[in-house]
Amino acid sequence: MTTLQDAAPPPGARTTGSRTTGSRASAALRLAGRRLAWALPLVVVISLAVFALAAVSPTDAAASFLGARDEFAGAAARQGVEGLLGDRHWLASWWEWVVGAPGGDLGWSTSVRADVGAVVAARLPWTLLLMVLGLALAAVLGVVLALVAALRPHGVLARVLAGGLWALSAVPSFLVATTLMAVLSLGLGWLPAGGLTDPGAPVTAAQVGRHLVLPVLAVALSQLPWIALHLHRATTDQLRTTSTEAARLRGVPERRVLARHVLPGAAVPTLAIAGARLPEVVAGSVLVEQVFGWPGLGQGLVQAALAQDFALLAAATVLLTGVALLGGLLADLALVRIDPRTDPDAL
């Protein structure tokens, strides 16, 4: 393929394989740079919005800070707590946060009474682990299911799969999570119902691995439908293209046809959508963390939002936004790599 393109470069055509591998690579770099440059103002705007929204939200910061003692605090104590939390304008709080954040000072969390940097350092890695494994599993399952369905388009299996996936796509992720827990853990007792390890057990690969199964499955199952359905559609289209037919006629084995001709083509539209869906994956895993007591950033985010904990809320939101942006960029870079027709400069 490469030789064909190199031999006949259509002059001036932006959307076909006119570029050498080198110039594609630098275009991909430009894409990455452009995205990262965009990320900065986006983060500023998002953090601003977080502070503004938290300030107008009806939750009572002092009541949240007092927790269960709220009902018994009395006037003097409540005024003391209100004095601690201060009634500064949200813009001032935001400015302090923005000025401190680049230097690594993410502020002090009032909801967990700890340095935000330490909270994030302890929690973000667990969120990333859960999301990456969940998405990877969803992708693998999606490919398998899509291929099975596409190869036997009128088979019973294909219909059941399609119907089941559509149904599954309508189920919110927390419901997927609670159902998994009810069946595999509470019902059958095969897997632990939550937590990072058994009580008191050291954080080892075996321990965490066993406790990861259900949360990862929950993330994977809630992401599987769109991956599988998009792939299925694209695979079905690819199976009917002339190039696929030509490959078959040349006697290329079916497995090779699938691997070399069908899947790469089918992956293109799916990857394009993946970038757009990532924020939803992040939001979904927040709920999964809540259900399974997974010590990720999502749980901290929910806590912070309820307590008007500006610093932690902003840090968590910006970081999860960053994860979504980065994921989107990776999806696009993969697209550039797989599909020679993709123009990095147009992404």
Partner: protein, 551 residues
Amino acid sequence: MPHRPAPFRVTTHGGPSAPRLARAGAVPAAVVLGLVLAGCSGGSPAPASAPASSTLALAESAEYTTLNPLEQPLGITGKMYDGLVRVGADGVLEPGLASAMPTPDEDLTTWTVTLREDVTFSDGTAFDAQDVVAAYTAVRDPAYGSPLATDYEMVESVTAPDPTTVVFELSYPYAGLPARLTLGVPAAEALGASVADSALASEPVGTGPYEVAEWRRGDSLTLAARDDWWGGTAQVTTIHLVFVPDETARAQRVRSGEVDGAQLSPLTAASLDGADGIEVVTNPSADFRAISLPSTLPFFADARVRVALNLATDRDAMVEGILQGDGVAVSTPFTPAQGDAWSPDAAFEHDPDGAAALLDAAGWTAGPGGVRAKDGVPLAFDLMYFADDTLRRDVAQAFASDMAQVGVEVRLEGVDRPQAVAGMRDKAFVLGGGDMPYDPDPQVYRVLHSAFAPYDEDDAYSNPSMYADPQVDALLDTARREPDAAARAATYRELQARLIADPPMVTVFALEHTYVARGLDAWDGVVPVVEPHEHGVAWGPWWNVQEWTAR
């Protein structure tokens, strides 16, 4: 309750090697590597050379926001801290860091406490009177922001004439001080400037039986017994507290043997009773629920209407239906936990016919739609409950249904905290109480005294009925100034009779807190206690775990 005993899971343990929170960041990367390289074949290392030790694993319903005893009194901080006075079996106060119970002068305004001398903090430093002075100065300082500040407003000064003596000077005679001296005392240097930024929130420095070995944020807290606690080293040497918000998951983790106990609702707890050596344990509390009757509403000005609503309430049905029997019907904020000060006779019978007759006599007669009215004003009001609290919701619904029987319309409204505060002036509210059950004064004073009647948005939960009765005020003030225990109890019993004649609200029941536990048979020293409103697995059968001895 037949069950077979199951011993506590006894593990060999290399002793607390105190890895605190911070290092968690590097762990996931190592775990990923481990998963990739070793698959899932890795086993947990079990150092076998250390002496055997007893480990207890308990499931807690929520992660602790703070371990600062000036912010979170009793409960979990009681494992890491001691107070001058401590709560003993059956909720009886006994000396803790004090060598004997505090002694008042004749008019109850000067209290002297002599301290134990053999006490050290978990950081190795010695405990003395200056630490007590610092703690009680901070807890009263508005700038420190302790939620307990209001509870110490009677304290005028705290001084230490010598290293083993502390003197509390009060601004008025106050008999209930010992209950307030249960405050955990941290090392003075560790207090910090305020509860918001004090390191004590996550790194306790106390004199108590346990210290924090590891806090995995969002996951679990591990406590290790101190070998230099003044009370002797606890035989239960390690306590793992795992945070499991979902009740079904908590129940399952007890059933599977993963944890040795948890706090559950009465219904869920009952479903586990007897399974695999699990037993249900209940502790009494003074944790009452009541429906406020705001005096701003025209019909509540008449005491007959308030009495009628009390008569129409079927408390026993609520205890059975809502609490599965794990509670006690009460008609005033006093509960059996107040001991001699409780008057069992001061109670309303369930008498809907009597209620109807009383309402008729007061002029509230049946109007259109079955709702009583007088001069065109219907006997109808709003009842707020915390929307996230299913127990209060159930109480509100049961109450509304009882009221409908006698022609009183109660409109239910699930609210959040700001809405509750804003609505308190002219809406009824399902109130919770009993945060300090070890003396009658903190149990009832702020709920009943007219000093708290004017609506204040900073203090909306105190006296939410805005109730004012000179006789009740006088009895409350007499009782808190009475040095003689028997005379004091008699005054409180007289007060309860008055509360039946002129009820400030509809108090319905006091809860018993329910837990499931396994392996209790292996231990001596498991005894009941009276629990405060806020509770969890730091209470239950495990409240005095540091004193258990193996059978």
